[in-house]
């Protein structure tokens, strides 16, 4: 009988023990994969939101702007500069931005805001503000009207949880309300009928503003109202202007949504008395992989002379990156503890099994089986148990992760509020199957390999006479 067959039979001699060992490996793999996917997915979602809403992957700025964000630290925009940047293999487009601060007021309320001058057409390539205009708002009146419609109770009970919230996409409102795919065709027309919001967009050369939804709510503004901006312009001039609100935008980054006002870039330049100048050029890139971004930055840094400086998204979002790295370390410690518990569980079972089978090892070696071969049978046994546990863990985790990737968990209530306070979108997203899958499985495989060392060592040092007395 071949070693692998003998090992397979040995495995099922004590089904309960095998099941317990395989189950502990299964749970380790399953929880590690799901936890890691959720953690990495949440970071990924957060970074994506910040990058796509605000910073972009790469920006070209005046070398002093990042440290001292005043409108004196600007760069002149020219077609030659744009062409030079676009000649890089990874750059698709240069999107002009003018970014500054101002005090925004409406009625008796005032707030310090981030004023972002954008090219309304080109910006669609990066932050796509036009598609972030609020489409639906779950106001009290809208909910009252929706309650009268023939909508499943399971959806209706979610209305109150999200009362007052605005939505820019069909997908997000359906996700929050827990509308299943089969009900979406019935619910969407009703949402359009009772909760839709009309919004306009800004145009180059036409004074007008888009305001973040949270900021608009804070200042009590809606479409058609006027907002007054007061700030410091180029070389100490006064920047003051009033703008009609063309639309309200809902952004997946709550922190930015609560302080942003978009203006057409030329209108913004007029406001700050900086015609023809920009604070940054945000770049649309072909490959946004970390390595490609770093290489692009390095190339552009070499191509562009003073006063230009090239910044990557990690540098521009340093605080968030550090926050995530700290959180990631915490997550790794948790997974480490999980692995440790599982490792002791597996080792405990192996220890028990080795003690129980000592006599059997003695007999088998007495009748002529070499110790190395007996040890090999043991390795096969542990390999099978590990394989069963890992494969089952992966098999169960994959559908959950795939489901979670396409249907992120939307948070509501206090948890959502807490996440928003930290500047996160209240959504728990999963990361698609990636290299972390291999690593989790490898770690568990290492645990199994380490735990097999004990019985192998015991077999190799076994004294037949003593073992036969066991």
């Amino acid at each position: 009988m071949k070693n692998y067959r003998l090992a397979w039979r040995n495995l099922w001699r004590n089904r309960r023990r095998t099941m317990i060992t395989a189950a502990s490996i299964f749970f380790a793999v399953f929880f590690a994969l799901v936890m890691r996917s959720l953690q990495l997915g949440t970071y990924d979602n957060l970074f994506k939101n910040i990058i796509e809403t605000y910073s972009g992957y790469i920006q070209v700025q005046n070398e002093n702007f990042w440290e001292d964000k005043i409108v004196d630290n600007v760069i002149g925009y020219s077609d030659e500069l744009a062409q030079k940047i676009k000649s890089d293999e990874n750059v698709i487009e240069c999107i002009p931005r003018f970014e500054s601060f101002a005090l925004a007021s409406s009625g008796s309320r005032t707030k310090g805001v981030l004023v972002m001058g954008i090219d309304p057409v080109k910006e669609s390539l990066l932050s796509d503000v036009e598609n972030k205009l609020v489409k639906y708002e779950l106001t009290g009146e809208a909910i009252a009207r929706l309650d009268k419609e023939n909508i499943p109770e399971s959806i209706k009970k979610n209305f109150s949880l999200f009362e007052g919230k605005s939505y820019a996409t069909d997908g997000r409102i359906l996700l929050d309300l827990g509308v299943k795919d089969r009900d979406s065709e019935m619910v969407l027309p009703l949402l359009r009928k009772h909760a839709s919001v009309e919004n306009g967009y800004i145009k180059q050369g036409e004074p007008g503003a888009l305001v973040g939804d949270r900021l608009a709510k804070y200042l009590g503004l809606s479409r058609g109202d006027t907002i007054v901006l007061l700030g410091q312009g180029y070389h100490g001039t006064t920047a003051a202007g009033k703008f009609e609100i063309k639309g309200i935008v809902s952004l997946p980054a709550p922190d930015i949504e609560s302080r942003i006002i978009y203006l057409p870039v030329d209108v913004c330049q007029d406001l700050y008395d900086t015609r023809g100048m920009l604070t940054s050029l945000a770049l649309q890139v072909d490959d946004n992989d970390d390595k490609a971004i770093a290489e692009t930055i390095e190339r552009l840094d070499g191509d562009l002379e003073e006063p230009y400086r090239v910044l990557g998204w990690r540098e521009m979002n340093e605080t968030v990156v550090q926050q995530m790295e700290a959180d990631d370390s915490g997550g790794m410690i948790m997974i480490g503890i999980l692995y440790l518990v599982i490792a002791f569980g597996v080792f405990g079972t192996v220890l028990m099994m080795t003690a129980e089978r000592r006599r059997e090892f003695g007999v088998t070696i007495s009748i002529g089986m070499q110790k190395t071969r007996m040890a090999m049978v043991m390795v096969y046994e542990m390999f099978y148990v590990g394989f069963i546990g890992i494969v089952l863990g992966v098999a169960v985790a994959v559908p959950i992760i795939i489901y979670g990737y396409y249907h992120p968990f939307s948070m509501s209530g206090e948890i959502a509020k807490m996440m928003e306070d930290y500047g996160f979108e209240p959504v728990m997203a999963f990361l698609w199957i990636d290299s972390y899958f291999i690593w989790q499985s490898v770690v568990v495989a290492i645990i199994v390999i380490l735990s097999v060392i004990y019985p192998v060592r015991k077999i190799m040092k076994l004294k037949e006479v003593d073992a036969l007395k066991a």
Binding site: N10, I367, G368, M369
Partner: protein
Amino acid sequence: MKVLELKDVHKIYDKTEVEVHAVNGVSIDFIEGEFAAIVGPSGSGKTTLLNMIGGLDKPSTGVIFVDGKNLTKFKSSEIIDFRMRNIGFVFQSYNLIPVLTAKENVEFIMNLQKWPKKDRDRRTMELLEAVGLGDRGNSRPAQLSGGQQQRVAVARALATKPKFILADEPTANLDSASTYNLLDIMEKLNKEENITFIFSTHDARVVKKARRVITLEDGKVVSDITH
């Protein structure tokens, strides 16, 4: 022809405060085809002597020659290989491999010796028939009675036609009927295959069947009678 030769073999256990002389200067020979019993009271050194003959334990002093080869000079892996090729074991509590069927248990050592399948099958069936279990080849040990398990153990020990069979109290766990049945089978195989059988026992029924009886007391041979 001598198959086994023990010369002034001693086994001293000195791990505790009291030194125990389990085997004390035993010198005996066994020739091919013997059917011998080593008898004596508990603690007389029967099992220790048998373990040393089988290479499961090493003598403190003295030498053991099997087929002219000094067993005490072998390395661990060499002795396992030597056992596989030359010695068959029958244990008091059968010690079959529980996950294997009776047939697979008998085949086990042939497998280790890489016998061709055809020869394995033929020899297995021959032995199972010889021990009266031709129809129980596919039964697992747990499905067999104690007597049947011990008969499978005898068949396993004989499978590769070893130089001799060492049986440590083979009938201790068997009822009378099974004991007589097993002894008859072993005697028959001893004669048919000309394999040396050495038992350690204090079962009078085994002693009665044995053609040579070696009596041990306090680790020493006090009598060696051939009938």
